[in-house]
Symmetry: D2
Subunit: 365 residues, 4 copies
C-alpha cells in the first residue's frame, strides 16, 4: 500500500533503502515563490549524519542532496520538488548470516512475514537511513514556516538516566553538543554515560522534545484530525519511538483537574494561558501557546553482545552483530523530530485556510 506519503496538502513521498542506489523524497504541494537552494536542505541533512564532534568533518562528503525539479531561478514553482541523495558508502559485500537471521529489535522478521522476503542489506527500507527523505522535506517545511514567523526546535531531553535541566536551557547548544542537549552539564554527563555503555557493548535509550513557537491559535481540526493526533502519528512514525507525549503528557494521568487546567487571562488585548500544561493544544486545535511534544526512543537494537534469535528456516542461533552502530539514537533523531513536526504543522496551516467563509471570500475577492 501507498504508505510512503505523509501530509494532505503539503504532501511528501519518500523512497529508498539504506544500501540501494539512492534515497529521496518528492515534495508535492509546496507553494510557489519560496526561495530554495540545496544548502537550505543540506544543513538539515548534516544534522542527522553520523558523527561525534571529532568525526563530523571527515564525513563531510556524505549525503549530498540534489534538487531535481520544482525550483526555477531559485524559487519553488508550485510543482513537485524532487530531492535525491545518492548512497555512496554502501558496500555490496558479505552480509553473512544477516541475510537469514532475524536481528532482535529490528524489522527483519516482520518484513519477511509481510512481503515474503526482504532487502537484508543494512535494514533496507527500515533502516535509519530512511529518514534522509523526511529530513530533506522537513527542511523545506521549516523554511516556509519561518517566513510566517513560526519556529520549530527539537533537542535531546534525556539520555538514559541523564536529563537536561530546563533551567539551564541554551538553544545554541543543540547544534553544537554531540548529544544535542541544550544543557552543557547534562551533555557532559550523558557523554560519560554513553562511553560506559559502549564499553559494555551496550546501547541506551533517550528522550527528545520539540517546541513550536509563533503558531497562531485555531490550527488543527476537531475529532480525527486533531493537531496533536497528527503530531502523534508523525512522531511515532519515526523508527524506535515508543511513546509520544503532548504538554505534560503522562503526568496528567495522576493529576487533579484543579492542578491541570490552565487558567485563561487577558494580556495586551490577547487571550493567554497562565500555564501550559496542555502543551499548546485544546480540543485538538492550537491555542496560540508554545506547542510541546516529547518522544521516548528505545536503545539502538544493534548491540555487540551475543543475542538469541531465529533464522528464516526456523533454526535457533546465537547472533553477534558487527559493523558501526550508534550507542544511542536520539542525538541524530532530534532533527527528524523537528522535521516531522514542521511538516505536520505546515499541512495543518494550509488545511485551515478554508475554515471560515468570510476569510475565503476575502481571499478570492
Amino acid at each position: 500500500m501507498a504508505g510512503s506519503s505523509f501530509g494532505t496538502i503539503f504532501r511528501i513521498t519518500t523512497w529508498g533503502e539504506s544500501h540501494g542506489k539512492a534515497l529521496g523524497v518528492v515534495v508535492d504541494g509546496c507553494p510557489a515563490g519560496l526561495a530554495l537552494c540545496e544548502e537550505d536542505i543540506q544543513k538539515y541533512l548534516d544534522r542527522r549524519k553520523p558523527g561525534t564532534s571529532n568525526v563530523t568533518t571527515q564525513r563531510r562528503e556524505d549525503d549530498l542532496v540534489e534538487i531535481l525539479s520544482g525550483v526555477f531561478e531559485g524559487r519553488t514553482t508550485g510543482t513537485p520538488i524532487s530531492l535525491m541523495v545518492r548512497n555512496t558508502s554502501q558496500i555490496s559485500g558479505d552480509y553473512g548470516n544477516l541475510a537469514a537471521a532475524y536481528r532482535p529489535g529490528h524489522a527483519d522478521y516482520t518484513f519477511d512475514q509481510k512481503y515474503g522476503f526482504r532487502d537484508y542489506r543494512g535494514g533496507g527500507r527500515s533502516s535509519g537511513r530512511e529518514t534522509v527523505g523526511r529530513t530533506a522535506a522537513g527542511a523545506i517545511a521549516a523554511k516556509l514556516l519561518s517566513q510566517m514567523g513560526i519556529t520549530v526546535m527539537a533537542y535531546t531531553r534525556s539520555i538514559g538516566p541523564v536529563e537536561a535541566d530546563m533551567d539551564r536551557f541554551d538553544p545554541g547548544l543543540i547544534l553544537t553538543t554531540p548529544t544535542a542537549m541544550p544543557d552543557p552539564t547534562a551533555n557532559e554527563k550523558a557523554l560519560a554515560f554513553l562511553a560506559d555503555a559502549r564499553n559494555r557493548s551496550d546501547s541506551v535509550g533517550g528522550c527528545m522534545e520539540c517546541r513550536v513557537t509563533g503558531l497562531p491559535a485555531g490550527i488543527g481540526d476537531p475529532v480525527f484530525e486533531k493537531l496533536d493526533a497528527n503530531l502523534a502519528k508523525a512522531i511515532m512514525s519515526i523508527g524506535a519511538v515508543k511513546a509520544v507525549e503532548i504538554g505534560d503528557g503522562c503526568a496528567v494521568s495522576s493529576r487533579f483537574g484543579s492542578e491541570n487546567n490552565d487558567a485563561f487571562r487577558q494580556k495586551d488585548g490577547a487571550v493567554v494561558k497562565s500555564s501550559n500544561h496542555a502543551g499548546g493544544v485544546l480540543g485538538g486545535i492550537s491555542d496560540g501557546d508554545t506547542l510541546l511534544i516529547r518522544a521516548h526512543v528505545k536503545p539502538t537494537p544493534s548491540i555487540y553482545q551475543p543475542q538469541q534469535t531465529v533464522c528464516r528456516d526456523g533454526e535457533e542461533i546465537t547472533l553477534e552483530i558487527r559493523g558501526r552502530h550508534d550507542p544511542v539514537i536520539v542525538p541524530r533523531a532530534v532533527v527528524v523530530m523537528e522535521c516531522m513536526t514542521a511538516l505536520t504543522v505546515l499541512d495543518a496551516l494550509m488545511i485551515n485556510m478554508s475554515a471560515r467563509l468570510d476569510r475565503m471570500v476575502d481571499f478570492y475577492r
Copy 2:
C-alpha cells in the same frame, strides 16, 4: 476541512454535536456479508453511557442506535452503513455565561479562534458525546475482527495514583466494575479516591490500556503508515488523551539495549519472542505477539471550583461550572479506546491484502 473521517479502506465519518438533534456515523468500506443488528452496536454504546453501577439501569433508554442503511436481511451489503443516535436529553435552556466564557481545559477558546464562533451548548462538537459515532463504528469493526479470531480489549490501568495490579488481572471485571479496572482491589481503592476528589469538587486523571490478541504478523506498513503510528493518531484523537505508549513506552528511554531487545525463538514451528517489550510491533509491522497500547487521560476539565478565565469580549471573570460531570474520564473512555484500536487494526488488515503478488494472484485466480 474534512477532518471527521478516519481510515482508508474501512472508513468512518462521524457527525453531530452534544446538544444538536442527533449524532451519528457513516461506515463506508465494510465488507459484504457480516451479520449485523442494532444490538451488536448498542452493547458498545451502553459501555460509554454515564453511570455508576447503581444508575445504569435507569438510563437504559439513552443513546439508542438506529441502522439507517447498509444492512439487508440481517447482513451488511458492502455499501455504507449509516448509524444514528437521537439526542433526547438536550435542553435548549439557559447556558448563562457559557456562551461567552472560555472554560479552562476545554476547546471553547480554540473553536472561537478557528471558526469565528461556536455552538456553545455543552461543548458542541468537542463534547465527549462526539465519541458516540466512533464507538458505534468501532463495534462493527470489533465484530468483524472477531470473525477472524482477533480480540481487542481495553481497560482502566490506573486512576490517579491507584494502579491495577496486572497479577490480579481478571478480564471479566472490565465490564462489571464501575472503574473498568480488571483488578477488584484497585477498583475499590479507586472508588474511594474518586469519592474523596468529588467531595473536594475536583476531578482526577487516569490511564487506560488496550490489548489486541490474535493479530497475524505482517500487518502495518513501513515508514509513515506504521501500525503503531496509526494507533498513536487514533488514540490521541480521543479527547483528553495527552500521551500514547506502545509496549513498554516511556520506560524504553532509560533502558539499555540488552534489556530492551526481545529475543526471538522457535516454538512449535513458529517464531516467537521471549518477551514483549516491543508491544507487538517491530518497524511499524505487527510481529504476531500481543499488541499493547497505553493512553494517559487528563482529569475532567469541568470542575466545581471557581476558575479564572476570559470571555469572548476579553473580560476576565471567575467562572463556576455547574451541571453533572464525571469526576474521571477513563472508565467511559475505555470502550472508545477499544473501538479506535479495532478500527485501526481492521483497516491495516485490509490494506495489507495486496502486499504480496503471489497472494493477490491467488485471490483472483
Copy 3:
C-alpha cells in the same frame, strides 16, 4: 472500500438505498459562517423529484430534508453537516423475479458478482435515488459559490435527436420546462418525441450541459488533479452517464490546430480569449472563461418490453419490468450534474488557497 465520499477539503459522504429507511449525506469541510436552512437544500432536491409539470405539486411532501448537525443559529459551524431524507414511499412488497433476475442495463449482475448478494429492492444503492445525497450536498456547495460570485447552471442539451438551439437560450426555462431545456421549441418537440417513445414502451437517451461563470483563472492543478479531470470523474460518476466532454469535446479530434486554438487578447486590463473551444480550462487550470461540460446519458434501462436475461441460478428467462419509470433520465439528472460540478469547483477553490507563498503569508499575517 470507502467509495461513497467525494472531494478533498469539501468532502461529502453519501449513504442509503432506494428502499431502505432513509438516504443522506455528511458534508465535512464546509467553512463556518454560511447562512443555511433546509429550504436552501429542499429547492435542489425538488428539482430531482419525479414529475412532469402537472404532477409536481401533488408529490410536494416527498424527499423532505432534515439538517441534523453542523448548523447553529442559522449558520454553518465548520463541523460536519448531516442531512437526511426519510424514504416514505417504499413498499416492502413483492419484488417477484427481480430478486433473482439480472435486469439488462442495470447493476444487478455486477453487484452480485462483487458482493455475493444484493439489496434487490428498487436497485438498492445503485438506484437513481442515490443522487439524493449528492444533490443535497451540492446545494450547499452552490450556495457557497454564489457568495463568491460563481454561478453553476446545468440544463438539457438534447433528448434523443431533439437538440436545444443555443441561439434561443433562455435560462429561465430550465426550471420551468418539463424537459429542463432552455429552448421552448425544442422542449415541445422533445415532449412529443418522448410521448411517442413511451407509447412504444421504450425509453430514450439525452445530453446535458453545465456552465460555470465567475470562476477566477488559476483553479485546478496540473497533472492528475486537473480541473477537467476531476469534473470528468464527478460527472461520469452519475449513473447512466457514458461520455463527458469539456469545451468542444469530441469535435476537437477532427479539427486543425489553427481552428482549435483560442487566441488571447487584452480587454480592460485583463487577458481574455477570443473564443472558448477549450471550455475554460487550459492545462487543467481554469482560464477565467466560462467552464463548459457536457454529458451523454443513456436511455433509462427499465423498459416495458420483454427482454432476454439470466437469473442468479443461471436460468435464462424473458423478463418484463413493471412499475413506474421515467422514459428519459436527463431532465431529473440536470440538477445532479449541476451539483457535482459545484462540489468539484468548490473543492478546487479551497485546494488552491495555498498555491502561492505570498498569499499564504498574507492570509496568516
Copy 4:
C-alpha cells in the same frame, strides 16, 4: 496542493519539468515479488518517444530509465519503486518571447495566474514530457496485470477525418505503424493527411481507444468510485484530451433503451452479454466483458502560423512558434492512455480485495 499523485493503494507520484534536470515517478504500493528490470519499463517509454519510423533509431539514447529503489535481486520488495529519466537534450538557450508570451492552447497563462510565475522552458510541468513518469509507472502496472491474465491495449482510432476500420483490426500494427493505427489502410491515409497539414504549418486532432480484456466482473465501486468515473479522470488528466467515452459513449444520448440495453445470457455456465454497448461497466462495476474507453485529443497547440496573443505585461503581440513539434499528439499518447488505464484498473483490483467478508476471512486463515 499534492496533485501529482494518482491511485489509492497502487499510488504513483510523478515529478519533473520538460527542461529540468530529470523527470521521474515514485510507485508506492506495488506488491512484493514482481520480477522487474529496467527493460520492462524502457519498452513502454520507447513507445512515447518522438519519432516517425525513420527517426526512431537515431534517438535511441533518449529517455533511459533508472530504477533507484524498491527492487532487490530482480524482484519488487513492496517498498517504493523510484524511477528516474535524466533530461539530456534540454538546452538552456534563448527562449525569446516564450518567457513573456502566452502561447494559445497552452497552459502558460493559467500557470502564471495560479502560481504568479512559471518555468517557461518548453512548458515546464505542463509539457508532454510530464507523461514520462506516468508511462514508466504504467509499465509496472501493466506487467502486474499481465500476471493475472489481464491485457490493456490502446491504439489510434482516428486522425483528423481518417478513421481506422475495426473490421481490419490488426493489433500487431499498433507498435509498428507510425500512427499507432491497427488498420494498415487508415495508417497510410492518415500519414498523407498529416503530411498535408504539416505543409500548411498546421496540426490535427485525433481519437484513441483502449481495451481491457481478462478483467473479472465485480471490480469498481458504486457511487463515486465507479470504475468508469476513475477511468474518465485518469484519461482526462492526460494533456490535450477533451472528451472521454465509455462503451458506445456519446452515441447513447440519441438511442432508444431497446437498442442500448445489452441482453444477458448463459454461456458455458457463465453469465455473458450478447452485446457490449455498455463497454464492460454496469453501475460503475466491471461486468466481465471487454472494457472499452475512447478519448478525443485536440490538435497540437504549437503550430507554425502567426497567432494573436498577449504577454505577461498585457501587450498584444503576434506570436510565431518555432522548434520541433509533432503535427498530431495521438500516436505518442496511445501508450499513455494504456498506462493510465492499467494504473486505474490495477488499483481497483486491489481495493476490491476486501469487498466480501468470506473472502477476507479466507485470505487470513
